[in-house]
């Protein structure tokens, strides 16, 4: 998944899409994922990072990561219509 290059992320979780004028808020974990996606980190690395840092399990992370990235597609923050890079 590729996040549009012009999307602005603030450290407090404010997300701005300058091409549409839409703004969003994300919670701290959402911000972490968004930042890692912007850095083109692969999905497995992001999940591994979450599992190492937070008290949760793989099933929950799988489910929530899928849901969150689908939401990013839905609100049009992804590039190439949300198609995977590879």
């Amino acid at each position: 998944m590729i996040i549009k290059k012009n999307i602005a992320l603030s450290d407090t979780g404010f997300v701005f899409n300058p091409s549409t004028g839409d703004s969003f808020s994300v919670n701290p974990i959402g911000l972490e994922i968004l930042k890692m996606l912007k850095e083109n980190k692969p999905e497995e690395e992001i999940k591994k990072h979450l599992l190492g840092k937070y008290a949760t399990d793989r099933d929950t992370v799988e489910k929530d990561y899928y849901d969150f990235t689908k939401m990013l597609e839905q609100v049009k923050l992804t590039d190439t219509d949300g198609k995977e890079k590879d």
Binding site: N27, P28, I29, F68, L72, Q74
Partner: protein, 452 residues
């Protein structure tokens, strides 16, 4: 290294311009304890879902209501409306506080008697009273509120058969400016039906007319309607004194006071917008006091309010089964209780709180129950923290009607606990089991076996 607390990642679009000037209500303040008892512990001990009733809130609310009336009128009596919540432990808290019983069926009547309420303090209302039930009430000297002429005639016959003089009131319906008028119950004031019934009772001289009763509606948001009703009932009582030289012992203004719940479609929250006991009391008491009774002949004022006395004492505790995303992007959370046990979700936007701490990040969602039915919606739209599977929630203000109108449908009805004044929970109704349902079924022998 200790791992950090996990919270589901969220993204929420920021909208300029909200639905109304008060914005959306956000429910992220958790309710972790009810009367100092842990919600999580209650669910561990008694299972999920679970109704919890605060005895302390019942008593406080009852005292608030009686104070509102007794500071304005010299003779006041409350009668607990059994149909609102007839779990015996709940009824007995009201009876301990001094409430009589008000029942609308033989089943409820028997419950009140079994609870120890003296027969002459059980008010028997409702349109459906069988001969046997009427005879039992007559023998117990219970005030019987007559709903229709067929009942009046039958009760007159029963009085002759038993050689007893039943104590009766008539239920009167009237135009109080509230529509639709509840004219299906009792005798109409404006068209003369009420006077016709009064004349028949007094002139046949078989029944003792002791009271006049009205009940103008339910979840009433206008205290002034009660003022109009009290004026019209007082006018009837004074008319009886003038015409027959008889004083009416009591005026029963029924119930229908709104609780603090928020009706669907309401602009303001119920807790802010709905009238309080003082407003209802002021309307009713002022109307009776100003109607023309002498100070020594004021009738006893009976109130049968149910909903406003018990709603706030009841909580429904439940657990998240799953989360999913709907096709339009909305978050849907599935809970382990549905409309089958929370009937009032059809009328109210119930306040729902998480039972554990969250950050201040929230998400709009729809709350569904567990039934495999499309109508099973607890809240169409509510803003809640990111609940996850096995998290707990608490629904507020569910004490009225849910524990009497609940259905055994698809799943079994939950247990009910009461938290006493010393913060101890007591099981007051057991969780249903398969055998509690099947014990009433009879399977013919020829249907016992089959081959598949």
């Amino acid at each position: 290294m200790k791992k950090l607390q996990y919270e589901r990642p969220l993204i929420q679009r920021l909208n300029a311009g909200l639905m109304n000037k008060f914005g959306m209500r956000t429910e992220y303040t958790p309710l972790t304890h009810i009367d100092d008892v842990s919600v999580v512990k209650l669910l561990e001990d008694f299972g999920s879902p679970l109704f919890a009733i605060s005895e302390r809130t019942i008593r406080q609310t009852y005292r608030e209501a009686t104070r509102a009336f007794k500071t304005r009128y010299p003779k006041v009596q409350f009668a607990w409306s059994y149909k609102t919540n007839y779990i015996n432990a709940v009824c007995n808290v009201f009876h301990q506080e001094g409430s009589w019983g008000e029942v609308v069926s033989g089943f409820e009547y028997q419950k009140a008697i079994n609870n120890g309420v003296p027969g002459n303090k059980v008010i028997f209302n409702g349109p459906d009273k069988t001969d046997e039930e009427l005879k039992m009430a007559v023998r117990n000297n219970s005030p019987i509120h007559i709903d229709h002429l067929d009942e009046l005639y039958r009760l007159t016959e029963i009085a002759e058969e038993l050689k007893l003089r039943p104590r009766v009131a008539i239920r009167v319906n009237m135009d109080t400016g509230i529509y639709p008028i509840w004219d299906r119950f009792g005798f109409n004031y404006e068209n003369g039906q009420a006077w016709d019934a009064i004349n028949k009772i007094i002139l046949t001289d078989k029944l003792e007319l002791v009271g006049l009763h009205c009940h103008i509606g339910t979840f009433m948001l206008s205290p002034s309607a009660y003022g109009i009703a009290a004026s019209k009932i007082s006018d009837l009582a004074l008319g009886i004194r003038k015409k027959y030289k008889r004083n009416i012992e009591y005026i029963d203004m029924g119930g229908g006071f709104a609780s603090k719940n928020t009706l669907k479609g309401s602009y303001l929250q119920g807790v802010d917008a709905n009238p309080n006991f003082d407003q209802f009391a002021e309307a009713i008491c002022a109307a009776i006091l100003n109607s023309g009774f002498g100070t020594d002949e004021l009738p006893l004022l009976i109130l049968e309010t149910g909903r406003a006395l018990i709603d706030e004492a009841g909580y429904l505790l439940g657990t998240v089964i799953s989360n999913k995303r709907l096709s339009d992007g909305r978050r849907a959370t599935i809970l382990d209780f549905g409309v089958n046990v929370m009937f009032t979700s059809f009328w109210y936007d119930h306040k729902i709180s998480p039972a554990q701490e969250f950050s201040n990040y929230t998400e709009d969602c729809v709350l569904y129950g567990p039934l495999c039915m499309n109508i099973d919606v607890i809240r169409e739209n509510v803003t809640l923290p990111p609940l996850k599977k096995d998290d707990h929630v608490v629904v507020h203000n569910v004490g009225a009607y849910n524990m009497t109108q609940w259905m055994q449908f698809i799943s079994l009805r939950p247990a009910v606990v009461m938290i006493d004044m010393e913060h101890q929970p007591h099981l007051i109704r057991k969780r249903e089991t398969l055998s509690s349902i099947e014990s009433s079924e009879v399977k013919p022998d020829y249907l016992a076996k089959f081959k598949l």
